[in-house]
Symmetry: C2
Subunit: 319 residues, 2 copies
């Protein structure tokens, strides 16, 4: 089957590798002048992986859309609306299935990525999300994992799962798109908090962080009309190993470096997600104590140790 | 306030240290001839900690019970029924509060420890459990944590919390004694599974393990009349950092050594808990896939890799 991958960063290149690995014909699209695209096209590799020479490349969006009925999108979350507008203009989106392999929320609106995409393309477009745990490095070594697909209707999820299942990735599907997207995005904020605890040698509070982090997000998801249990599945709790405990987690490393006053080149994705979550929480009258504390520390420069200890060491109360 | 600690192993000695640390008068009881008791009495220390010389020692159970109205019990789970019988015989249990600082189930019956204790002492005895995350080593360094108290009625929990709260341990209470005890005991089984995954270099599957482990136990707790959400609080999920990720976790180390065919001196506590849980699950018609697989591997000598991959790599299904 033909698969187009829109995007050529780390996670996009993994998806291209994976689709090729399980026998599909793959075309990668990147913007004109993209250094990532140029590197992949000329060397067939990046710092994470090597790609088969069978994979083709283009910077022509129309060509990429014509190539396949199944389109993986893996770009920076904040760029999704623009890309969706460009896809809309091509008029080449009918009867295609788009799969968003990205975790985030639109900062300016607090919207989920499938909402953003559907707003631009139209309500009847087929869009699913593909999230959950998994390190690129592990998959390349042949270490399997479980991931999760969600869409507005389960037929779309099952269609995607049929195309991409293998011994390397076993998919579950979730009927709760809201909870899946919020949970997948929000785990990066919990990852930042975990990194801060690690940096202060309070690693043992990561247990309490897991219990409280899932809980506050389950409340938000419920208020948004999702299922409060989704956060305890693969899209959020199932991603805690990779996000809260792995030395490779960008968001965890950011939190650790932040409290150690180490320089960091750019804000972690979780910081943007945190701002979007706080906007959503405010609108829906839900409290997000962990997100609020990370915001106080990173944006308002409050003392990390004081804020985090206050968060966990509250007075007598029920769980 | 006077506090007696029944038991003189690692966790009991920590409780004695902690009660003394926050200003209580402490007496430790151990059985006649106990080497742990003798060591603490003569050297005021064990391999984990040093105790204040203010702490007194006895092997006379009556003396220990007369000394205090608040009695901490921290002994091997399978010995609890015998100790409860001995306490009953002294007739010195009225108006006292007993706090079980231990995690396990009675193997022969599948019963929770507070059930076992109440069966022997009587329905009207005041008994609470004190569980949740926390490494002895971290507490000694002054690193705080949150823990959880549960009892049949919340007044008992609040009474215990008032006696033991400090800047080092902040308590939450849970109104679900069933869920708290099952979750606290069962985390050791999930810890064994985590160690097996680590040993096979499948550490990245620990994310899926966390999502599936909590889920199967929430089903059992519900069937037993508890609250299916308790497992996501401090007593179970909140203890995953210490149990699934710490290099010190006995149960995690057991699982790792087991799949690496390293010799181990004795079965981990989680193996007994697993057998009790499977008994309970059978009785209440609940499936516990993770417990069942660990049982197949450890007791029935099935292939760990095959069994664990089968567990996670199941066919298309909803979460």
């Amino acid at each position: 089957m033909n698969i187009s991958v829109l995007g050529c960063g780390r996670w996009a290149s993994f998806h291209a590798w994976y689709a090729n690995h399980i026998g599909h014909n793959v075309k990668i699209w990147g913007r004109e002048g993209s250094k990532h695209l140029e590197q992949l096209q000329t060397t067939h590799q990046n710092e994470y992986l090597s790609l088969s020479p069978d994979i083709t490349y283009t910077n022509d969006l129309k060509l990429a859309l014509k190539f396949a009925d199944t389109i993986i999108i893996s770009i920076s979350s904040q760029q999704l609306r623009n890309l969706a507008k460009e896809i809309k203009k091509t008029d080449l989106y009918m009867q295609k299935t788009f799969i968003l392999c990205m975790k985030g929320l639109e900062i300016s609106t607090g919207k989920r990525l499938s909402e953003v995409f559907t707003e631009e393309i139209g309500e009847d477009c087929h869009v699913g999300v593909w999230v959950g745990p998994g390190h690129v490095q592990d998959f390349l070594k042949g270490i399997p994992n479980c991931m999760v697909i969600s869409a507005k209707n389960t037929d779309i999820s099952k269609h995607i799962i049929n195309i991409f299942s293998s011994d390397l990735i076993r998919f579950y599907y979730s009927e709760d798109l809201i909870g899946t997207e919020i949970g997948a995005a929000a785990k990066n904020v919990v990852g930042i908090a975990a990194g801060m605890l690690d940096g202060m040698h309070y690693t043992s509070l990561k247990g309490a962080l897991m219990a409280r982090g899932t809980y506050e997000l389950s409340n938000l998801i419920k208020a948004l009309g999702g299922n409060n249990m989704t956060v305890y599945g693969l899209s959020h709790l199932g991603d805690y190993e990779a996000t809260l405990f792995s030395a490779y987690s960008n968001n965890r490393c950011f939190g650790e470096d932040f409290v150690l006053n180490k320089p960091f080149s750019k804000l972690a994705e979780g910081i943007y997600t945190m701002q979007a979550l706080l906007k959503l929480a405010d609108k829906h009258h839900v409290e997000l104590p962990i997100c609020a504390v990370i915001n106080e520390i990173v944006i308002n420069h409050k003392n990390p140790k004081e804020e985090l200890l206050n968060l966990f060491m509250r007075p007598l109360k029920a769980e």
